[in-house]
């Protein structure tokens, strides 16, 4: 049984179709990156999954229980963090978590233990008695994560959980998500693709409301991502940039100081040593030459088609 099952999901807003016959499954205890360009339909899909938005068509299940719009049956199994979460500004962070704990009917001792533990986890212990209206965007995001984890949900759905955080905050939140995958399923949307590389087992990529691909990340990289050559020169390689771009094996070339990053169409060029042979004919000394692992960003660009 999948942790999340989405079948033929469609959402239409008058003439605009935000989600178009989308189907995918999320395995139990996997961390899944939900990716797509802006306006792809990620947030709309997540909002249908948590019952905030009504699907035009299709079925969804959380841990085997069907999601019915307007009913709260599956809510006991999920923890949800919306993009830019809004909480009661007149409450303190501690009061808000107490309020959510009361909704889940926690005993007094469980409430105290769990809230203390989560406030520590999201680093809000010192600010717990301050009004939420005085919190920064990052603090609100961290409190939002705490409320999503309060009921130890089977499935955690996070919409852009780290977008409002500074690098340190992002690192901490990603560590929290990473720890969760031992016994939780996490589906999170993000546009920070390096985060996907760091913590995701699988990815679901959508575009224009339609599924592009749903697969384990490693398989996808092996199948779709272009091999990348990283070459370091002794001096500025700008003069050879145009020539490299003209080579038939070069899909895309980027320069960063004395380094070139060359996306190849496939591995055949590497096997035949064509790029190295070409570079050696140029009048510039090569310091380093090596193949690097493709990242999700490369995969994303490849799948959604960015031009050379």
């Amino acid at each position: 049984m999948s942790a999340i099952s989405v079948r033929n999901l469609t959402k239409k807003f008058k003439l605009f179709t935000a989600v178009d016959d989308l189907s995918f499954e999320v395995e139990k205890h996997h961390v899944v990156g939900f990716l797509g360009p802006n306006g792809a339909g990620k947030t709309t899909t997540l909002r249908m999954l948590v019952g905030l938005s009504k699907p035009t068509n299709g079925n969804m299940e959380i841990a085997g229980t069907p999601i019915v719009f307007g009913k709260s049956d599956t809510n006991i199994k999920i923890g949800y963090l919306p993009e830019l979460p809004s909480m009661y500004g007149w409450m303190s962070g501690h009061e808000y978590l107490e309020f959510i704990a009361d909704i889940f009917k926690f005993s007094e001792s469980k409430k105290k233990t769990k809230i203390t533990e989560l406030l520590k986890l999201v680093d809000l212990t010192d600010a717990k008695d301050k009004r939420i209206s005085t919190y920064s965007g990052g603090m609100k995001q961290r409190l939002g994560i705490a409320q999503a984890l309060l009921n130890d949900p089977e499935v955690i759905i996070l919409d852009e959980p780290v977008s409002a955080l500074d690098p340190m905050g992002r690192k901490e939140v990603l560590s929290v998500i990473e720890k969760l995958k031992k016994n939780r399923t996490v589906l999170f949307s993000t546009h920070i693709l390096s985060d996907v590389d760091r913590i995701c087992d699988d990815v679901v990529i959508i575009n224009n409301g339609k599924l592009v691909v749903s697969s384990p990340l490693s398989e996808l990289k092996a199948k779709y991502a272009s091999p990348i050559l990283e070459v370091e020169f002794i001096s500025d390689p700008t003069k050879i940039l145009a020539t490299v771009r003209k080579e038939k094996w070069a899909k895309k070339v980027e320069q960063n100081g004395n380094k070139l990053r060359i996306w190849l169409f496939d591995n055949s060029a590497v096997k035949s040593n064509a790029p190295l042979n070409f570079l050696l004919t140029q009048k510039i000394v090569v310091l380093k030459y090596g193949l690097t692992l493709p990242e999700t960003e490369d995969l994303f660009i490849n799948l959604l088609g960015e031009e050379k």
């Binding site: 938005s53 307007g70 963090l81 009661y88 959510i100 909704i103 009917k105 009921n151």
Partner: protein
């Protein structure tokens, strides 16, 4: 039941922290205290307006004038303020997106709506009860004593009318996404209840506004059987407002 209690407690705390209870208390207490004073000093004020050659003769103010003033102030000033304080009950949660997280918890939409009605009914009943007792004590001490239980019966009827306007306003707040529009609908409903029933002769016996016109009868004679139908209408409007709010909210999407 525990979830409903949690939601009501949260709503009451919100009313307290966002000073809604304070605003309503000030308005109702002002009405309670000012009504006997205005009734007492109005004849004195009018006397000072007399000019040579013109004599203004006014009867001495009684507790009935104080009641008259109280009814006028409650039905005009207090109700207007009340409608605009209550107008954000549901629409503010939608606009501020605070219900996004709440509705992804084990909270049924029915309980969410019921908590809004119950929390406002509790706070307004408490504020109106305190104001009414204060008004009674002040009127009795300024004028003469009159039957407390008859007064309590009259105040209870007025409270029902107030709760009806509150219920219609919360229903409007659920249906429309804007608290100003919800307040406007609440206020218009108050005007409509006053006019529609009086336009058609056969409907007059059902008019909720009879509560206001029959207060003198209740104060002097006690329960008036003519008020039964208006009370049934008031209770029906309250129940229908709650049911419509639940029905609409269960089908509403939470917009981003």
């Amino acid at each position: 039941m525990k979830t409903l209690f949690t939601l009501i407690r949260k709503d009451l705390l919100e009313q307290w922290r966002t000073k809604k209870i304070l605003i309503l208390s000030i308005v109702f207490l002002f009405v309670a205290v000012s009504s006997p004073i205005i009734a007492k000093i109005t004849p004195e004020l009018l006397k000072t307006l007399s000019v040579p050659g013109m004599t203004i003769t006014l009867p001495k103010a009684t507790y009935m004038d104080s009641l008259d003033q109280f009814i006028k102030n409650v039905s005009q000033i207090a109700l207007l303020v009340l409608v605009f304080v209550v107008a954000g009950a549901v629409s503010d949660e939608k606009n501020r997106k605070t219900l996004e997280i709440l509705l992804t918890k084990p909270v049924s939409r029915t309980l969410f709506i019921l908590s809004k009605f119950k929390a406002y009914f509790i706070s307004i009943t408490a504020i109106f009860a305190v104001s009414s007792v204060l008004f009674y004590l002040y009127t009795v001490s300024t004028f003469v004593s009159f039957n407390f239980w008859n007064f309590a019966l009259m105040a209870g009827n007025i409270l029902l009318y107030i709760l009806m306007i509150v219920a219609v306003t919360i229903m409007a707040s659920t249906i429309v996404g804007n608290s100003l529009a919800a307040g406007g609908i609440g206020f218009i409903s108050y005007i409509l209840f006053g006019t529609i029933f009086s336009l058609f002769e056969p409907l007059q016996k059902y008019s909720p506004n009879k509560i206001f016109s029959a207060y003198k009868d209740i104060i002097i004679k006690g329960w008036n059987g003519d008020l039964l139908l208006p009370i049934v209408v008031i209770l029906s409007v309250i129940i229908v407002s709650v049911l419509v709010s639940i029905f609409v909210f269960q089908r509403q999407e939470v917009e981003r």
